[in-house]
Symmetry: C2
Subunit: 394 residues, 2 copies
Amino acid sequence: MRMASPSRVGDARWRGALAVLEEMRREPGVTRAVVAQRLGLSSGSATEITARLRELALLSEAPAAASGRGRPTTVLGPHPEGPLVIAVDLRQEDWRCAVAALDGRPEIVEAGVHAGRGPEQVIGPIAQAVRRVHTRHGRRVRAVGVAVAATVQHGRVVQAATLGWDAVDLGALASDARLPLLIGNDATLAGVAEAREGAAAGAATALHVMIEVGVGGTLVVDGRPVSGATGAGGEFGHLPLGEPGLRCPCGATGCWDLAVDGRAIARHLGEPPPDDPRTYALAAIARTSADAATAAAVGRTAGSFGGGLAGLINALDPDVVTLGGLAQPLRAAATPEFEAALTGGLMRFRRADPPRVVAAVLGQDGALHGAALTALDHVLTEAGMNAWTAALRP
Amino acid sequence: MRMASPSRVGDARWRGALAVLEEMRREPGVTRAVVAQRLGLSSGSATEITARLRELALLSEAPAAASGRGRPTTVLGPHPEGPLVIAVDLRQEDWRCAVAALDGRPEIVEAGVHAGRGPEQVIGPIAQAVRRVHTRHGRRVRAVGVAVAATVQHGRVVQAATLGWDAVDLGALASDARLPLLIGNDATLAGVAEAREGAAAGAATALHVMIEVGVGGTLVVDGRPVSGATGAGGEFGHLPLGEPGLRCPCGATGCWDLAVDGRAIARHLGEPPPDDPRTYALAAIARTSADAATAAAVGRTAGSFGGGLAGLINALDPDVVTLGGLAQPLRAAATPEFEAALTGGLMRFRRADPPRVVAAVLGQDGALHGAALTALDHVLTEAGMNAWTAALRP
DNA sequence: CTGTATAAACTCGTCCATCGAGCATAAAGG
DNA sequence: CCTTTATGCTCGATGGACGAGTTTATACAG
């Protein structure tokens, strides 16, 4: 018998196997032959690794559709009895709970609406949903990933302005103490999902920027979010890129937040701050073609967005920028203003080859996907694999 | 015989050995026993690995000073015939060329002044210096790291405003085609050095901010700079955190650059832009105690710096911020204004536990250290080790 | 000065993921 | 039906790491 030891240099037991599983989840439906070729595995190693993974219920192989001569290969997929993760997306007005296998496609199994209620009344039902899913699948469930529209530090929610909550303990969502709970900001996790399997797939450095109420986002390098020391990185909305002196609810002044969302549009129109800036912004964007004053206000807001974004591009130098939430509608509603501000704000040497700025493609599901991905990251480690094999043979 | 193959999954030949070398260079003078304990190596593995590394001239062992009972261990150090890297620091007015062994301490061996000359006349002498060092040490030299006060994209200098140069090809510095050449921005490399062995040593996420003419810097995560897609990340000075509308030589407007260096101080004093903003700023800082108008101008500049820095902290969430170049003198000259702007610009939830903001400790040598570190990173890889063993046995 | 305690190095048999060469196999094409 | 081709499978070899047992170099106690 061998003791589990934390950071062995030489414990290469899972190296090849994890590489194969990573390939499988990065591209569900790859064939064994392609994976072996990409990883530089000999066919003997591929045979041994896949056999071991099948034995451990981590992988299933199905005959691949023949394409040309030669012995047909197999397509790799998650095992029907393999590990699962639970992904939860807790949004401003509702929540969703999904299950994902190792290929990382979350399948929504429960959902609910909670608009306006306090944390106790919201967390309870979600925890019950998680517990139901956990009970249904038993030990197959290995981790819970949670995306929440809130600021997260050290894995805890420290403030949730859009939800109207203060610091909240989401520990109850782990269903029982043994399930790892991975909590992340929704914009961060959506950025991770876009960078890995969305509009920025393949980019080594992707910047995701999302407007809802204020601006969130994240820089994603090699599939991992640059989340800083406490995990609260990506609060681009609280760079003072907005109107100097304007007081932000966050406590600072001049925040970019105030210059790019519905509050900015209302201010430019001389109206009071809207209760729901998101809905207000959508309504304003919808009537730009009919109303010149609104079009001007939206244009000015889009300009603030483009100018700040150019600064972020100067500072962070991404390959691709993905726009989530209202960012894409805002750009689309005032393309000339946005583009002028963006190009004008870029350093000259960047203008020849600026990064692509594209709409996010995962839409409302980005954060949920990201939660599943993060939970899977936790499972697909040496420690996670050891835990899984231990769970298989009790 | 074995072919070098690019990305073998299973080629774990160098895993343990590289881990030991990393420990040695992170903390020159560690003992073998401590390294083995940290890496979780059995004493047998430690014996085998160190023997192999000594045999390959990668490591030397010397008896450690005895401390208490028990068989004395050995201290690990670079081998006297082991691999070397050349580090070059090309600054605004002069350059330095250093040699470093695997412990990463650059020793300056040549230097020169070039103020005001064109690239051809500057690169030639540096290339000759590199060639002399290369000739002296022969195959022991494995790579050249270059820190340059310029914007670097894809390993090439694309603009060097402070040097008064346009895009320049530094390829000649590699001495001969077989030496890998690693070119980096000086502020970025200084940040790497501060994060690994300077004021931010030990921090997982460190932000380095350096004022000279404008602002440069880098975010360093786990010892690696977040340099973006093209390597030009860290241009924080071209976030529009400055005065809106003010035109920057970079082509954009409102750049932070213009609000924090000597140009800002001059502007606040109603003077024309100085030819040498660095010297101007130093002079102004020196006379703040005597001249109230200058003190006010410096204070306003320090406030712009503190406010922008707070935004960067909000967005990037570092553990530690290191201040390089004029940043520390500026802060010291107007601490109340700086601190007020910094604290006022932080999001409220960050104020309870803000990151430490400390002076860089490597001073003028930061970039040179960073260049050596980067070159060593290139050597201390599987490929670098294979090349070294190939060079040993011709 | 000698014996004991202690910590670390060394020895050696074992393990195991991977390699690589050769063989077996399942299609497509003639 | 036989050949071609790409792939999977088998099996001995390799080599880094492990771990238990042994040796060695020092400090300390008497």
